[in-house]
Structures are given as structure tokens and as C-alpha cells.
């Protein structure tokens, strides 16, 4: 899985994300979820980390569970005092939950396994605007600069007895922290760019990796297209057949 051409993986992930996002029936979405689990198994990622990730990103979904079943019009199946949940509401929220998780799992299995640097180069290869890809690569590179400088400045605040509270001093200090971070990183960005110029950079990122489209990539794409077609039929052709 990890040796597949990143361009193919990006394309397949995009295809399924769109298919599942537009699907409206449980059959399709369950099939999509099954497919996403197949990808996940192929990617061989540590399961515990994936589950931890999924728990975190489901917070918005959790919030929907608190509201939607209670407000959705339909047949009441459960009541507690003034609160009542409807069958349609529960079904609807369940659908959203499955959809959301299926797409996220596909994203984790196919795209998040590609190093961002490779991803940037692959996107450039897929004819996305050069400037956008450069922006992606630079932003990723600066994330570390930022994170490191952020960590240091927070330590500087700590050793001088700073404790966050709900007051103006706290907000001002946080604003200064953010602003100092900006200014320093901005200058650092300039210097890093100068360092790149000094080493002959002229607007093009070379990679030590070159992308080769191999047989297994073709196989993967063909299999994925087939699965996609099945999903498509499930969703849109079934009603007319039935």
C-alpha cells in the first residue's frame, strides 16, 4: 500500500470521498464503510492510534447526537420528560455518523499515510497550480518552526510566573505571545528563504523521489474504479431497477 504511487491514492481517495458524501442510503454508506475498512487494513496502521484519532474528530458528531434526534420531526420512539427522540432523527444522525467516519477513514488510510512533502510534489504533478503547491510545502515546513518557537515562548512565560486566568492581563499576554510568534517566524521565513536562494533555489522543488506509474498502481486504480462503480450502482441505479 505504501509503495503505491501517491497520485493514484489521492485520486481514489477523492473519488470515494465524493461518492460517499453524496450518498443518501444506508446500503451505499455501509458498503463505503466496509471499503474504507479494507483500505485501512491494507494500510496496516496501528489500530489504537486510528481509533484515538476517530474519537477526537467525532466531537462535532457527538454534538449532533445531543441535538438532532430530539429536534428532528417524526415518530417518537423514546421520551424523557419534555425530551423526545424520533426514529427519523436517530436514523438521520446515524447516517451522518457513518458517512463521516467512512470518509475520514479513507482519508487516514490513503492520504494521511503519504508524507506531506511527497504529497505536495504529487499534487504539483497532478497539475495543481505551482504556487499553491509551494504554499503547501512552505507552510508545512514552517509548522515545525512555529511549533518549536511557540513551545519556547510558552516556557518563557511560565518561568516568569504566568498563569492563565480570565482577565485582560492574560488576553494581552496571549496576544503578545501570538504576535511575537508571528514576527519572529516572519523573519525566520525570510532567512530560510535566503538560505534557499544561497543554495541555488530558483522556484522549483526537486525530489529525491521520482514517481513511477507501475503495474500495481494500474491494478489498484482499476480495482478502486470497479468498487466505485458498484457503490454508484447501489446508490443511484437500485431504485430504478427495483
Amino acid at each position: 500500500m505504501h509503495r503505491l504511487d501517491p497520485r493514484g491514492k489521492i485520486g481514489v481517495a477523492g473519488l470515494f470521498a465524493v461518492l460517499i458524501a453524496t450518498a443518501q442510503t444506508y446500503t451505499t454508506i455501509l458498503a463505503g464503510l466496509a471499503l474504507s475498512l479494507v483500505f485501512l487494513a491494507l494500510a496496516g496502521l496501528p489500530l489504537r492510534k486510528v481509533v484515538a484519532r476517530l474519537l477526537v474528530v467525532n466531537s462535532f458528531i457527538f454534538f449532533l447526537w445531543l441535538v438532532l434526534p430530539l429536534t428532528y420531526p417524526g415518530d417518537v420512539v423514546w421520551e424523557l420528560g419534555p425530551l423526545s427522540a424520533t426514529r427519523q432523527g436517530l436514523l438521520f444522525t446515524g447516517l451522518i455518523t457513518l458517512k463521516s467516519n467512512a470518509i475520514i477513514i479513507i482519508l487516514i488510510a490513503l492520504v494521511a499515510t503519504v508524507p506531506v512533502i511527497t504529497l505536495g510534489q504529487a499534487l504539483q504533478n497532478l497539475r495543481l497550480p505551482d504556487k499553491l503547491c509551494h504554499l503547501l510545502l512552505f507552510t508545512y515546513r514552517y509548522l515545525y518552526v512555529f511549533e518549536e518557537e511557540y513551545r519556547r515562548l510558552v516556557q518563557a512565560m511560565k518561568i516568569r510566573g504566568f498563569q492563565p486566568r480570565t482577565n485582560l492581563h492574560t488576553y494581552r499576554s496571549y496576544a503578545y505571545l501570538a504576535a511575537m510568534l508571528l514576527v519572529r517566524s516572519y523573519d525566520r521565513a525570510d532567512r530560510v528563504f535566503q538560505a534557499m536562494l544561497c543554495r541555488g533555489f530558483h522556484g522549483r522543488f526537486y525530489s529525491l523521489r521520482t514517481f513511477y506509474w507501475q503495474r500495481r498502481d494500474g491494478t489498484f486504480l482499476a480495482a478502486a474504479l470497479l468498487a466505485g462503480a458498484v457503490l454508484f450502482c447501489l446508490e443511484w441505479l437500485k431504485p430504478s431497477l427495483g
Binding site: 453524496t22 441535538v67 504556487k131 514552517y142 517566524s185 525570510d190
Partner: protein
Amino acid sequence: MHISEGVLSPAVLAGGAVLTVVGTAIGLRKIDYEAIPRVAILSAAFFVASLIHVPVGPVGLHLVLNGLMGLLLGWMAVPAILIALFLQALLFQFGGLTVLGVNTVTMAAPAVLCFYTYRGLLRHPGTPAAIGAFACGFTAVLLSGLLVALALITTGQAFLEVAQLVLLAHIPIMIIEGIITLFIYLFLQKVRPEMLEGIYA
């Protein structure tokens, strides 16, 4: 506030994607190669800002800073925010791929709007600029909240209550963002006025 995958209707998703493509194209046209590292820095800042939690009473809320992005970047804020959201989706799975367009619009449209609305005020140093900076941070979050609510409601009437709650949750963030944007603006004005030249352009 990121909207998750799988919530919105295809029409809303498509609308967000189209708007984002147009906005990004305009933004990219304004970026020359020399400016890429600087835009990237702000993009990274926007990414990291959502990891900074500030206390508001008993809870911690994270910064948004889209007002500041608009103030510093104008149209260029669109690609910058797009990239930051893309990386967040990739590294933390906040938001996602299909909602990338909608999420970018809810964050970036207020940024660009605030840039043009408050540019006049910000050009006058002293109290007008300070008011402008506060309003910029405040309004940008307010508009973001409204756009998120709008995206939800156009998806389906079922989301009406959810949208109201989302909007409600934005109120404390608006005030905090206003204050923080104000102080950041004052800091930059004193320490590195060159970074603010965008509003004079």
C-alpha cells in the same frame, strides 16, 4: 468551527468548492513567488492558532484569527486558509476533504470582507485603527458563525437548532478574538510595521 465530513448536502458542498476555487484563483494571482514564504508563515500561524487555548471562565476556547489573516493578507488569505485547513484535515482529520471548500469559505470570506470594510479605519493611526482592529477580529468570527449556520440550514431544516447553538457558541469567541486581534495589531504596529503594509496597498 470546522464542519465535519458527511453532514452537508452535495449542493452546499459543491457551492463551497466553487467559491473556494474562484477565491483561491484570485488570491494566487496576487501572490508572487517572493511572497510565498510570508504567506506560508501566516498560513502556519492560522494552523497553530487553533491549538492555543485561552481561558474564558471555566472553559478553554481556541483562537481563530481569521480577522487577523484578512487584515494582513486581503485576498491572499483565501489560499492561505485553504492550505491551513487542508493540513489540519490531513494531520488531525479536523474537517475533511469534501467539506474543505465550505470550511474555507466560512473562514476566508469574512477575512476578505473585513479587510475591505475596515481598511479605511485601520489606515488612521490611533483610536480609529484600534477600533478597526477590534472590529475586524470581532466581525470576522461573527460572520464565520453566520456562514456555518447558513451552510447547515441550507442543507436541511433539521439543522435549525444545531445552527442556533453553533451561533451561540461563537459569542464568547467573538469578544476574545476582538481583544486579541486588537493587541496583536498594536504589537505589530510598534514592532514590525512592515507587516501591516498590506492595508495601505
